[in-house]
């Protein structure tokens, strides 16, 4: 390395030093220290006592931990694809050259500006089994089905019935789909017109153009939104916490891993145990992200590569 290169390196490091300092202090250090605390019995106030893998042994036998993992995986498996498809669909619609498209774009983005706590309270009422708006909309449909088929179906008690509580939350999570829509829209506008024109010359219809031109070109955006959605849904906390008034939902159906970490760390003061759960959650998210990266490698197209 020449003297000039060394000086450039020093300057480069200096300029990214705020980020490096932030990363070390706010990400790396907490990660390493929580890895250490997960091997201890630690209650915040007293000194941590090293207990080896005790916390992990207990976790393996902890039914509530497994239930929280199941709830989280179930929620992620439903909400990530549903939100992705909805966001792409909305972005395609908003990409049409229609009068007032800017107004529509703003309108679809607006709900994602609502703070999480307000969202929780809002959906608590929207999903109310008796007077909620969702059931008010479903009631005529159920009545029509009942009249035709002679059945006796009724809209579900979303937040009071374990079978529907997570579905209710998936519905609520779609409220924030505007963020992903805007990113997809930016991706859609980047698709070269020439490719569409070439496809049209080849006689492609709308669906074929979408499948063979649009989706491959915006695949990095789909990948990005997919990963962000995955991470976000594995960390779901605020909305179900507010919706259940700090509880765990009917039959613990809304006990998510992040909620369980919070309960163990800040209500039971078993910080070592909470750190062990957090580390497992981190490893799950890391593994899934790596798997998604590996699986999508052949399907994501980067124009610059």
């Amino acid at each position: 390395m020449t003297k000039y290169e060394k000086r450039r390196l020093r300057l480069g490091l200096l300029f990214i030093s705020p980020w490096i300092a932030g990363f070390i202090l706010l990400s790396l250090y907490p990660l390493l220290s929580s890895a250490y605390f997960s091997l201890t019995d630690y209650s915040v106030l007293s000194k941590p006592v090293f207990t080896g893998l005790d916390n992990y042994h207990m976790l393996m036998e902890d039914k509530l931990f497994w239930q929280s993992i199941w709830n989280t995986v179930f929620f992620a498996a439903l909400s990530v694809p549903i939100n992705l498809i909805t966001a792409i669909f909305l972005a395609v619609l908003l990409n049409f050259n229609l009068p007032g498209k800017k107004v529509f774009r703003t309108l679809y983005f607006l709900p994602s500006l609502v703070p999480m706590v307000c969202l929780g309270v809002l959906w608590q009422w929207m999903l109310n089994g008796q007077i909620g708006l969702i059931n008010q909309m479903l009631s005529p449909f159920c009545e029509a089905v009942n009249a035709v088929l002679g059945t006796a179906i009724s809209p579900p008690n979303w937040l009071a019935d374990p079978a529907y509580a997570k579905l209710g939350l998936v519905l609520a999570s779609m409220w924030g789909v505007g963020n992903a829509t805007v990113i997809f829209l930016a991706g859609l506008q980047d698709v070269p017109r020439s490719l569409y024109e070439a496809a049209e010359l080849d006689g492609c219809n709308f669906w074929q153009k979408t499948r063979h031109v649009t989706l491959p070109i915006i695949s990095p955006v789909i990948y990005f939104n997919g990963i962000m959605g995955l991470i976000g849904s594995f960390q779901v906390f605020a909305v179900p916490y507010v919706m259940t008034n700090g509880g765990e939902g009917p039959g613990r159906s809304l006990l998510f891993t992040a909620t369980y970490i919070f309960n163990k760390g800040f209500q039971a003061w078993s910080m070592g145990y909470a750190c062990a759960i957090a580390l497992i959650l981190f490893l799950i998210i890391l593994t899934l992200t790596l798997l998604a990266t590996y699986a999508s490698e052949r399907h994501v197209y980067y124009a610059g590569k």
Binding site: S43, V44, L45, G129, N157, A160, P250, A268
Partner: protein, 450 residues
């Protein structure tokens, strides 16, 4: 040139850090007129905060040495624990007595025994049911502010409509259920219009139903007994609700419960006739119930008549966290607050009863709540109970809440639910208990020397 820039850059960062230290130095915990600032955090807001603020202001006016800075803090338990762990706790903190076992055994508090001796504060000054909650492992950790007991609150108009004597509340669980059957009404679609009673309405004391069934959930020392006969009887009683009223109508009813502090409260709206509640209800009824709301207060019914008069006594209290900067001055304010005149004013302001053994005749005369004596009598009764002083109470209580929710939805049998809960909670309880045993000798020695 580059090294000059680098030097300037470094100098800038250094000056920012030094500025931070200077800011810290500029805050010497003193007022402009030289009084030492005592920081006091409490959980109260609204009218309850106002009542304490008035007293704090009066104390501050009388002082030339101390200035109490009173802050209203939400989620206080968590914040005090973290502030203490971080070495920056307030000098005084208002917590619930039920939190004292965890706070004390974690070493988060300063024992008050020596101060109590110095200021002549004795157990006989207070109601025994209050004092015993402030003592953990034979040491005093806090002094009381505003206590409460829970009792049956009933809607007299709904009693009258059901053909019941509105002045005679039920005394036993059997009577309660007989009344319940008379009062409960369904509409033609099978939905519940009015319910006599539902244990989950409001369901704030999930861990303590065994009290009214003549038992507890631990042996008072080292064993959790969630599957005791009393708790089993209590859970069987709760499980009978979905059997009698149907899980689906109950679910629908619970969904319409509404926010407690609002006109949507089902008790105020006449949707539920009997609830287990506390003295704060007076305030909420004044604010949210219809003007002609006709209600009464009596002990909550017990399984056996000889246990009629049982209640759960709770109290707010003030503690001095470990590491507080001015514990002696904090204690001076605390002692002033404990004088009957001040404490009674605080309890009047917050519409509670007095925790002191002696109550001035004026107190009841001035008290707006016509039922206040009933709450106080419940706290004076030998049947008065308090929350179990167990280190896993928060987890236990939340777990019991889930069990009760499962029972009301008719999803689990009481025997199975309690068996699972006992296994889960006993393991947690034993773990905490063993941890405590390991450090107890050192802790007890340390507390005795303070």
């Amino acid at each position: 040139m580059t090294s000059t820039r680098l030097g300037l850059f470094g100098l800038f960062f250094l000056s920012v850090i030094l500025f931070g230290f200077w800011l810290e130095e500029e805050n010497p915990h003193k007022t402009e007129d030289g009084r030492i600032i005592i920081e006091y955090w409490d959980k109260w807001s609204g009218a309850e905060r106002e009542a304490m603020q008035e007293l704090v202001d009066e104390f501050n006016r009388s002082q030339d040495e101390i200035y109490v800075k009173f802050l209203s803090v939400s989620n206080i338990t968590r914040k005090i624990m973290l502030a203490t762990a971080g070495g920056m706790p307030p000098d005084l903190a208002g917590v619930w007595a039920a939190d004292l076992p965890v706070f004390a055994t974690q070493g988060a508090l300063t024992p008050l025994d020596a101060y109590a001796l110095e200021y002549g504060i004795a157990p006989s000054d207070y109601l025994p049911s209050i004092w015993r909650q402030l003592v953990v492992h034979d040491h005093l950790w806090g002094l009381p502010t505003t206590p409460a007991t829970n009792a049956l609150h009933w809607n007299k108009d709904l009693f009258r409509q059901a053909g019941l004597d509105p002045e005679r509340p039920p005394h036993t669980i059997a009577e309660l259920e007989a009344y319940n059957e008379r009062i409960t009404q369904f509409d033609d679609q099978g939905r519940i219009l009015v319910l006599g009673h539902l244990p989950t309405e409001p369901g704030w004391w999930s861990a303590n139903w065994s009290f009214w069934f003549g038992g507890d959930v631990w042996n008072g020392h080292d064993t959790l007994t969630a599957d005791s006969e009393a708790n089993r009887a209590a859970m069987n009683w709760i499980a009978s609700y979905p059997e009698r009223f149907g899980p689906k109508p109950l679910l629908g009813f619970r969904q319409l419960s509404g926010v407690f502090a609002s006109p949507e409260n089902p008790f105020f709206r006449g949707r539920v006739a009997m609830v287990l509640q506390g003295p704060w209800m007076y305030n909420f009824i004044q604010n949210f119930a219809p003007e002609d709301f006709n209600w009464g207060v009596a002990p909550f019914p017990a399984l056996r008549l000889e246990d009629y008069g049982t209640s759960l006594v709770e109290t707010d209290c003030i503690v001095i966290p470990r590491g507080a900067q001015h514990p002696e001055l904090a204690m001076a304010f605390l002692d002033w607050l404990q004088q009957p005149e001040q404490l009674e004013r605080l309890c009047l302001g917050q519409l509670k009863f007095s925790p002191l053994a002696e109550v001035s005749p004026d107190f009841y005369r001035k008290h707006p709540n016509p039922h206040i004596r009933i709450y106080r009598e419940l706290a004076e009764s030998p049947l008065a109970r308090s929350r179990p002083q167990i280190l896993t109470f928060n987890e236990f209580s939340s777990d019991m809440g889930s069990v009760i929710d499962n029972l009301v939805r008719g999803e689990q049998s009481p025997a199975e639910a309690l068996q699972e809960l006992q296994a889960r909670q006993a393991a947690l309880f034993d773990r905490k208990h063993t941890q405590w045993e390991k450090v107890s000798n050192a802790r007890l020695k340390e507390w005795s020397s303070q």
